[in-house]
Amino acid sequence: MNAKKKFHDTAIVIETGAMIEFLENTELGKAFSANILENSRFQRFYVSPLTDTELKYVLCRRNGYLEAKKIVSDILKNFIICSESHLRDEAIRLKCNFPISLADCYSLAVGIILEIPVCMKKEEEVNRIFSELISLVKIIFIDDYV
């Protein structure tokens, strides 16, 4: 297996919704953990800078800014947080073409640029345009594991 193929087969982008399910330890979160996080195939986990921001916001509302920053930094310490400047053009192109959140656009942009799958929770807005999105990037819905 060459290095490029190995990278594409072992790396994955994780979107905020999937991370939240994991932090809430719901059935979806458990399925996400068992099939994605614990899957030996995946050796590199990417998140967009907006996922970092959204997780900090959620934890900030609950624990305050300093604690949220500390917790989320530790949660994501083994993840690769992509640089925003590499993603913005692709994210904006997606935002212009599809009625989805900017945060989803950034997660999808990571997948498109690095040519790796994006693991998401099935949200109505993304599901509606799924057929168009799959021509751009591979999407894995955690909902399909339960």
Partner: protein, 87 residues
Amino acid sequence: MTTTIQISEITKKKLFRVINRLEKKWSRRVTYDEAIKFLLQEEKIEFSKQDFLKNIKKYQGILKPGEGKSLLKELRMMDYEREKKIS
């Protein structure tokens, strides 16, 4: 602040190919600095799946069911309403 590094002609040619690929992908000019940063991001980092799981598992269940989802929904709804106002 910028600095000068010495690289071989072969490495320079390889970097140039990376720049071409990135320029095509990002539809804009890409500097050598950006190409090196991109490659560093892609480099094989020391990754222990065992440590990764041990660390992240500490946080499984730190939020009550529905708590995070509701805050995230609220955040995205606020952004959506703001977008609607300006578009």
